[in-house]
Amino acid sequence: MALWVDKHRPTNLDKLDYHTDLSAHLKKLCASGDFPHMLVFGPPGAGKKTRVVAILRELFGPGAEKIKIDQRIFETPSKRKLELNIVSSNYHLEVNPSDVGNYDRVVIQDLLKEVAQTQQVDASAQKRFKVVVIHEADLLTRDAQAGLRRTMEKYMGNLRIIMCCNTTSKIIGPIQSRCLLVRVGAPTYSEMVKVMHKVVKKEHCGPLPESLAFRLAEESGRNLRRALLMLETAKVQSHPFKEDQEIPRMDWEDFIRTVRVQILKAQTPESLQAVRGQMYELINHCIEPAAILKTLAKELIDRVEGNEIKMRFAQEAAFYEHRLRTGQKAIFHLEAFVAKIMSVYKRHLMSMDM
């Protein structure tokens, strides 16, 4: 049984629920004879992938939906074998470079050359080119990005690239200059509420109280995927929906609440030790360290009173998140962040007593 997020994913440009101007633009672009390389960017759960799939369908018709998954083996120059799952149809192919880490250049180049050298086999195809979709393109190494530059020009005859990413900041200038940039912003709360109502109607499990829908939208931070996942869980928890029912949260997020409580309760070496244990536990459950830090920071900021201390916490969070990204061992930086927060907070409490 498919999750609602997948089951109710719109499949063509006309059915996309929001950013209708963008959909209309994309439709025109697909109808014209040529088609540029594209860089689709926006926050998680904004509907980038959905939109890309809809574009493929618009370009190639229903055939683009007949996908298969192959396992492929690539060889690095040092003769290392890499296995990679590749999603493809007759008209396109999708890769996720983060699956192969630092060997992404080899994989991308092999694939692109292969695609570029095979002509569109289907003579009735509406377009002369094939499309390669690169997901999470902001994780491409610089090396791989450099490798794309001339390839994007040379194989323009029968190959187009669509890259999906959260931010353009990590895409090198020469690549940006070769692509049409397409921004997919997150839907607004009311747009999200509309989509939720639609889904509930299709599932015949309404009515969905307006205030619950809004709280779900808010809680998701304008991430539609999250909102729909929470909506489905909410239905399992209580059906029919109740106006004041609790918003379901992930286990690890609940766990971070207890970490927050600990930090704000006692700012001592013992307390820090306890928190360290909790941090290890989170990491061992494969929660991404940056997500731990960000979620914890948000919890902390929401709970403390006073603009100055909130701002200070935000600044420390940014500082240690940066450290975390550039450093080696996540736990060091998580712990350092907590220690710093404790000391800042303690001083803050003392100054208030005086």
């Binding site: 040529d34 610089r142 001339r150 020009e153 323009m156 049409l180 909130k310 935000a314 600044q315």
Partner: protein, 350 residues
């Protein structure tokens, strides 16, 4: 001049042309309007003039082209090769190795060796053809320092038979011993009038309707990167259709410029001491998908004009901007960075 004329007629008679014209209709404009000859290259007068001189002398040095994206480096070397060899011989005389190819030391040596050794066939027709071949190493700045050092030997070994042309964005990424073996040519961002000429020519040929203000904003947002400008122009014309005129708003939309209203909102927040106000504004900017680095650079160009800040405050803010840029480059979280920057600036300004 007769030199070029002759080359063009040979090109015209080649059998590939029929297919080529069919494909041309669907060709992206950046490829369709890639300069075909040295005379076609706009701007870059200095580089072009010197290169033409050296071509006449029949003795080409090794070349190093550097400059920002979309300023004509690749186009120039391809045009130069075409001018020297003509369209028929270019295939056998020019080897292009770019960052997409395997470029370990071993591979380069091998490829260069084989290529250099394959005998230079003798002159075809009346046009005397230079005795050397050209090896283009595009995107050379992505080669490792080791591969670059190894290249020095290779360059010397085959210097009778080959000329190298290295192309890169950052000349500082080419090791000095290699750079010093080449004649360096700097490619500058295209000047406004040259970009304009080129864009207007394309608009005429493709029958695009566009307002003069829109052309101007095209030139502005592309910052001397002609490829970007052409790319945006074609996208705009595809989105709008043939009958409507392209205006500035369409261009701003396509270029992903952060709307002024968003920047206004952020700048306004600097005067606020409310955490909540700032945090909400930042969350919305990020959720709307604006790139933090673009936001930062647009805020930066506002900074000098800001009327509320003293020069000292501005200096402090500039320092904070610098920190943020560095962190973004290192891959730090955009929302946290933007939030941190905004709160730091607010504690200086408010």
């Amino acid at each position: 001049m007769s030199f070029f004329a002759k080359r063009q007629t040979t090109a015209g008679s080649s059998s590939a042309t029929a297919n080529a014209t069919a494909a041309a209709a669907n060709k992206p404009w950046i490829e369709k309007y890639r300069p075909k000859t040295m005379d076609d290259i706009s701007s870059q007068e200095q580089a072009v003039a010197v290169l033409k001189k050296t071509m006449e002398s029949q003795n080409l040095p090794h070349l190093l082209f550097y400059g920002p994206p979309g300023t004509g480096k690749t186009s120039t070397i391809l045009a130069l090769a075409r001018d020297i060899y003509g369209p028929e011989m270019i295939g056998s005389r020019v080897l292009e190795l770019n960052a997409s190819d395997e470029r370990g030391i071993q591979v380069i040596r091998e490829k260069v060796k084989n290529f250099a050794r394959s005998t230079v066939s003798h002159n075809i027709g009346t046009q005397s053809c230079p005795p050397y071949k050209i090896i283009i190493l595009d995107e050379a700045d992505s080669m490792t320092a080791d591969a670059q050092s190894a290249l020095r030997r290779t360059m010397e070994t085959y210097s009778k038979l080959t000329r190298f042309c290295l192309i890169c964005n950052y000349v500082t990424r080419i090791i000095e011993p290699l750079a010093s073996r080449c004649a360096k040519f700097r490619f500058r961002p295209l000047e406004e009038k040259h970009s304009r000429e080129r864009l207007e020519m394309i608009c005429r040929q493709e029958e695009v309707k566009i307002s003069p203000e829109a052309i101007l904003s095209l030139i502005r947002v592309s910052e001397g990167d002609l490829r970007k400008a052409i790319m945006y122009l074609q996208s705009a014309s595809r989105l709008i259709g043939k009958d409507t005129e392209i205006d500035e708003d369409v261009i701003a939309d396509i270029a992903g410029t952060v709307p002024e209203s968003v920047i206004d909102g952020l700048e306004g927040c600097w005067l606020s001491k409310e955490y909540k106000t700032i945090a909400t504004e930042v969350q919305n900017v990020i959720a709307d998908g604006h790139s933090a680095s673009k936001v930062l650079s647009q805020l930066h160009s506002r900074l000098l004009k800001n009327e509320h800040l003293s020069p000292l405050q501005k200096a402090k803010v500039a320092e904070i901007f610098g920190d943020m840029d560095k962190c973004l480059c290192d891959g730090a979280d955009e929302q946290l960075q933007l939030l941190s920057m905004m709160t730091r600036v607010s504690s200086i300004a408010a």
